[in-house]
Symmetry: C2
Subunit: 214 residues, 2 copies
């Protein structure tokens, strides 16, 4: 799974797919911009601060994107696109709701890890601009579809009935979304093991296999 790591350093361009200004392509500019947004907050980041961090002039940035808002839109689209595409896959649309839910949660963890800074930006949005509000609306739609899957699994009889599905959804997303705040890519916890751990905690809890029963 962690094979396509060539573009995750956020450093200078690696020579391929360059466009416009030498040294950077749009993806590199975007990745660095997202890091700056996450550090300073989107509102507090000016094109001047971005230019300083990129080591290029403001007009060179405008060569890649028309405005700060366009960078935000591209970044949020990358985060949301990743999440939304999970729900379109066959494993999410056919079969028992319980298995579909497990697939969706597992893939959600994977997207969070693969697109960590982009999803971090999404999760910290305050909704001050139209672009932010549109993104929050798409995020809510994703959350509602997962909530519907939880309800379906519950109605199917495969999930416990004694917790309101809305509370389940909130607590599960609380657990999963926290990953962007503490997960360190490249550390001892691989993305695959992290996804396993989240699934285990979500479905079986801490007591789950404490005392083997067979």
């Amino acid at each position: 799974m962690p094979s396509q790591t060539t573009s995750t350093n956020g450093a200078a361009a690696n020579g391929s797919a360059k466009r416009g200004r030498p040294g950077y392509d749009q993806q590199s500019v975007l990745r660095i911009a997202v890091d700056v947004f996450n550090r300073h907050g989107y509102d507090a980041t000016s094109m001047g601060i971005l230019a300083d961090n990129l080591g290029i002039s403001k007009s060179a940035i405008y060569h890649h994107v028309p405005s700060k808002g366009d960078l935000l839109k591209l970044a949020l689209d990358h985060a949301l696109g990743g999440l939304e595409s999970i729900l379109e896959q066959p494993e999410a649309t056919a079969g028992a709701a319980d298995a579909r839910l497990e697939f969706v949660l597992r893939r959600t963890v994977a997207v969070l890890v693969e697109r960590l800074p982009f999803v971090t930006l999404l999760l910290r949005l305050r909704g001050n601009t139209e672009i932010e509000r549109d993104a929050l609306e798409r995020r809510r739609t994703f959350d509602h579809k997962v909530a519907a899957l939880i309800s379906a699994a519950r109605d199917e009889g495969s999930l416990r009935q004694d917790i309101d599905p809305r509370t389940v959804t909130r607590l599960l997303f609380g657990m999963i979304n926290s990953i962007v705040e503490w997960y360190k890519p490249g550390g001892s916890l691989s993305p695959g093991k992290l996804a396993d751990d989240v699934i285990t905690m979500a479905f079986d809890g801490l007591h789950g296999q404490a005392t083997p029963t067979a």
Copy 2:
């Protein structure tokens, strides 16, 4: 449990324990200040903005507290004091680690709900000032003590062994801390039921009692 709600509205003082300027005591000023900090961010909140929200002059605020930093310190101390006192109670210090952990998690949820705006402020800190860094250090100490309890319960054999205790701690706190972002006091989900739900999810997971076994 939700009986002492007289002081949770953050509105004008209720007539008792007043001190200084008529209409407000220090607790009322503090509560409103915390709401403003949570809305605008601590850094972006000036004493002028606070005065506007309180409907009093800046010099009237200085009658209650010497500075904005003192308000922050009082607020964080209220959040941290609530959390720290959990670990000093007999149910947290004696008995099986598993039962102690359940007690601590249940009480943590209760403190989050009882002191919601104060804990929200604590969880959103960025650590830009000495006061914030001190608070983050106290929060880390609390987290480490809970992590030690999780390790103890694991060593005792009462928790599953297949997840790193550090990952368990992160995911549990992710789930619990998310409460400040979505819980609406006074709604259909009581603080007691919320704590039950968190304990059930944490220890038994979603599959827990899906099919009753007796």
